[in-house]
């Protein structure tokens, strides 16, 4: 699994670049590097459905980001300005929170099964019944479309709401000048 750790490293480097660089277009492309590293890691942990969806969603995200950056400006003019007092306060608060959060996470990750040894109490039932009860050979599709179909209904509701919101925000007709 050495390649998994390599991609985790690349992902973290690209994430730091995406938050710190001055050019917004470069930041968006670094975000794309993070997303495609995640897609490759999904393939490495045997999740091909997630990899396909991640690649499609990542391309759409990058296209929307680039469209917004091209219509506006691609220089992050806030980088290099003098630090305001609220900025320093937010830095201090964030580092305090990050310290406490990491301590709590390290404690709670010990309770989880180790990496590569998942306990599958619920999933064993889904795997046993998936083909006979739902008739789908892909267990992930069985779970999202049959065993947990209400989740997918909620997802469709959220997507519909966000599409309505984007349409309402981007409309041309009826806008006050």
């Amino acid at each position: 699994m050495i390649e998994l750790y390599l991609f985790l490293f690349i992902m973290l480097i690209a994430a730091v670049i995406a938050t710190e660089i001055k050019d917004l277009l470069a930041a968006v492309i670094s975000l794309g590097a993070v997303g495609f590293s995640v897609a490759i890691m999904f393939i490495l942990v045997q999740a091909p459905d997630l990899a396909i969806v991640q690649i499609v969603v990542e391309i759409l995200t990058i296209v929307i980001f680039v469209a917004v950056v091209f219509r506006t400006t691609h220089i992050d003019e806030t980088i290099g300005k003098r630090f305001a007092s609220t900025h320093i306060l937010s830095m201090v608060l964030f580092s305090l929170f990050a310290f406490l959060f990491l301590a709590a996470v390290v404690q709670s990750l010990r309770e989880l099964p180790r990496f590569g040894y998942a306990t599958m109490r619920v999933a064993s039932e889904y795997i046993r019944l998936g083909l006979s009860e739902c008739g789908g050979a892909n267990i992930v599709a069985d779970v999202i479309l049959d065993f947990r179909a209400l989740d997918t209904l909620g997802e469709a509701t959220v997507l519909f709401t966000s599409v309505i919101g984007v349409l309402a925000l981007m409309r041309k007709i009826g806008r006050k000048r």
Partner: protein
């Protein structure tokens, strides 16, 4: 353990961008980074050594699969992340058209 911690660090980088950056696009990028971190953490928790993807290719194959439940949850979360990112970017674009800046320190006055 190291792999899980890397996902948490990615989450914290996203939170850092949200809390301390003053550019709206950087804040949206921070939200996207947090989403990637949590999705990857779920997919890594479901992994088992020596297992294959949960797709039945032969009727009597040994059913030694990785956990399909986190994969199904993450599949939903990825698509919702796209919707929220698009909505946030639409709001950012309208704010830029009104104020001609992405700097949240200069977007103070609510012009009617």
């Amino acid at each position: 353990m190291i792999a899980f911690l890397a996902c948490i660090v990615l989450f914290l980088i996203g939170l850092y961008a949200i809390v301390t950056k003053r550019n709206l696009i950087k804040i949206v990028i921070g939200f996207a980074l947090m989403e990637y971190g949590i999705n990857l953490l779920f997919a890594l928790i479901g992994f088992r050594h020596g297992s294959v993807a949960p797709i039945i290719t032969q009727i009597d194959m040994p059913r030694r699969f990785v956990d399909p439940v986190p994969q199904a949850l993450v599949l939903t979360a990825i698509v919702i992340a796209l919707g929220t990112t698009a909505l946030m970017l639409a709001v950012a674009l309208r704010i830029y058209n009104r104020y001609k800046t992405f700097d949240i320190a200069e977007i103070r006055k609510l012009k009617g």
